[in-house]
C-alpha cells in the first residue's frame, strides 16, 4: 500500500482537488472555498514532493518509484494550478 500511495500520491491530490471543486461549484459556489481547497492541495503536493525527494534510489525499483512519484506531483501541481483559475473568470 505504501508504495502505491507514493506512486499515486500526486494524482490522488489532483482527484481530491477536482472533485472538491466540482462539489463546491455545484452545491455552494464560493471563491473562498475554492481558494482554501487549492491551498490545501498545493500544501499536500508540497509535502509529497518533500517526501519523494527523500526517497532512496538504492536499486532500480526504488529509483523508478521515486521518479514516477516526482513526476506525478509535478503534473498534479500544474493541473491544480490550472484548476484554481476558473473561479476568477466566472464573473
Amino acid at each position: 500500500m505504501r508504495t502505491w500511495a507514493i506512486l499515486l500520491g500526486g494524482l490522488l491530490v489532483w482527484t481530491v482537488h477536482f472533485f472538491g471543486l466540482y462539489a463546491v461549484a455545484e452545491i455552494a459556489p464560493s471563491r473562498i472555498a475554492t481558494v482554501l481547497l487549492t491551498l490545501a492541495c498545493l500544501a499536500a503536493d508540497g509535502w509529497l514532493l518533500a517526501l519523494a525527494l527523500r526517497l532512496g534510489r538504492a536499486d532500480a525499483f526504488a529509483a523508478w518509484r521515486r521518479s514516477v512519484a516526482l513526476g506525478g506531483v509535478a503534473l498534479s501541481l500544474v493541473a491544480v494550478c490550472w484548476q484554481a483559475l476558473p473561479p476568477w473568470f466566472s464573473g
Binding site: 473568470f89 466566472s90 464573473g91
Partner: protein, 320 residues
C-alpha cells in the same frame, strides 16, 4: 430568381460561418478560432519536424531529441506554457460571453425547440409573450437580444454561428443566450443537437433590421389586424382541419401544435428553413410535406386538387 436568394437564409456558404462573425458574441470567438487554427498548425508542423529529424535527421540533431530532456521540453514544458495562455483566454471569454440575467430594457425572445421547428415568442419587459412567430427571428441591428431557450419535447440546440455559439434547449430547463447582429441581413442557423427523424432539416433564420426598420416592423406586427377578406383559401383552411394545429391571429384558427401562421406569407423560408417561400412551395408543402421533410408532424393533404392547393397557397401568401 428570388427563391434562390431567400434560401441563402439557410446555413452555409463561403466564408465559413464560424469564421465570418457578424456580432460581438461571435467575433471574439472567431479571433480565438483563428489563433487556435494557426497555432495548431504551427504546433503540428513542429511535431512533424521533430518526427522528421528523429527519422532522417543528422546524428547530432537526433541525439538532442533522444532523451528524457526532449520529452520534458516538448511534451511538458512547451504545452504547459501554451496551454496556460489558452486556458486564461478561454476562461476569460467564457465568463464574458455567458448570458446571465436580462439587462434592463433588453429585448427578450423565447425560442422553443419543437420536433422539428422553432416556436418564437417575443416577450415584453416582464417576460410575457406579446407576439408569436415561428422559424424566424427579427432583431434590430446594434443592440443585444436575450434569447430564452426552451424545449417542448426532446433536446434541441439553437445555433446561428455568425451571431453566437450554440446553446442546448433542454426540457425542464431554460438556458439563456445573448446575440447581437451588427449589420442588417439574414443569418442562417440549424438545430445542432440530434433530435430524431428529420433533425437534418430543422433550419432557422435571424433577420436583422436597421433600428428604424425594426421599429416599423414591430409596430406593424403589433397593430391590430383587420379581419382578412373572406377567400376560398381561407374557407378551405378553416374547414379542412388546418386550424386544429395552426393559429392565424384574428381568425378562429387557434391551434397550438404547429407553427403560428399569422405572418407565414412574410417568412423567408418554409418547413423550418428548407424551402423558399412562394406559391408553388406552399402548395407543394401542403400536399406532400412528408416527401419534402419525411417524418415531420404535418400529414400530407392529398385530398386537395390543384385548384384548391392554389387557393390555399394564395391565402397563406397574403398573411404578411
Amino acid at each position: 430568381m428570388p427563391a434562390e436568394t431567400d434560401l441563402k437564409a439557410v446555413l452555409g456558404g463561403w466564408p465559413p460561418a464560424v469564421l465570418d462573425p457578424a456580432g460581438p458574441y461571435s467575433e471574439p470567438v472567431t479571433l480565438l478560432s483563428w489563433a487556435l487554427l494557426v497555432g495548431g498548425t504551427v504546433v503540428l508542423l513542429i511535431v512533424l519536424t521533430a518526427l522528421g529529424i528523429a527519422l532522417w535527421g543528422a546524428p547530432a540533431l537526433r541525439a538532442r531529441l533522444g532523451g528524457d530532456r526532449a520529452i520534458w521540453v516538448g511534451g511538458v514544458a512547451f504545452p504547459v506554457v501554451v496551454l496556460s495562455a489558452l486556458l486564461v483566454w478561454g476562461l476569460w471569454l467564457t465568463g464574458d460571453l455567458a448570458a446571465k440575467a436580462p439587462r434592463p430594457g433588453e429585448m427578450r425572445v423565447r425560442v422553443t425547440g419543437e420536433m422539428w421547428w422553432w416556436r418564437v415568442a417575443y416577450l415584453d419587459e416582464a417576460g410575457r409573450p406579446v407576439m408569436q412567430d415561428a422559424n424566424e427571428l427579427h432583431v434590430p441591428v446594434g443592440s443585444t437580444v436575450l434569447l430564452e431557450l426552451d424545449s417542448a419535447d426532446v433536446i434541441h440546440s439553437f445555433w446561428v454561428p455568425r451571431l453566437a455559439g450554440k446553446m442546448d434547449m433542454i426540457p425542464g430547463r431554460r438556458n439563456l443566450l445573448r446575440i447581437q447582429a451588427d449589420q442588417p441581413g439574414t443569418y442562417g442557423g440549424q438545430c445542432a443537437e440530434y433530435c430524431g427523424g428529420p433533425h437534418a432539416l430543422m433550419g432557422f433564420a435571424v433577420v436583422a433590421h436597421t433600428p428604424e426598420s425594426f421599429a416599423r416592423w414591430r409596430a406593424a406586427r403589433l397593430a391590430p389586424r383587420p379581419a382578412p377578406a373572406a377567400s376560398r383559401g381561407q374557407a378551405l383552411f378553416m374547414q379542412s382541419g388546418c386550424a386544429a394545429c395552426h393559429t392565424i391571429a384574428g381568425t378562429e384558427a387557434r391551434g397550438l401544435a404547429g407553427p403560428d401562421l399569422t405572418h407565414v406569407g412574410s417568412r423567408r423560408t418554409l418547413g423550418a428553413g428548407i424551402l423558399p417561400n412562394n406559391r408553388g412551395t406552399l402548395a407543394g408543402w401542403i400536399a406532400d410535406s412528408q416527401t419534402i421533410k419525411p417524418g415531420n408532424r404535418m400529414p400530407n393533404y392529398k385530398q386537395f386538387d390543384a385548384e384548391e392547393l392554389g387557393a390555399l397557397a394564395d391565402y397563406l401568401a397574403t398573411l404578411k
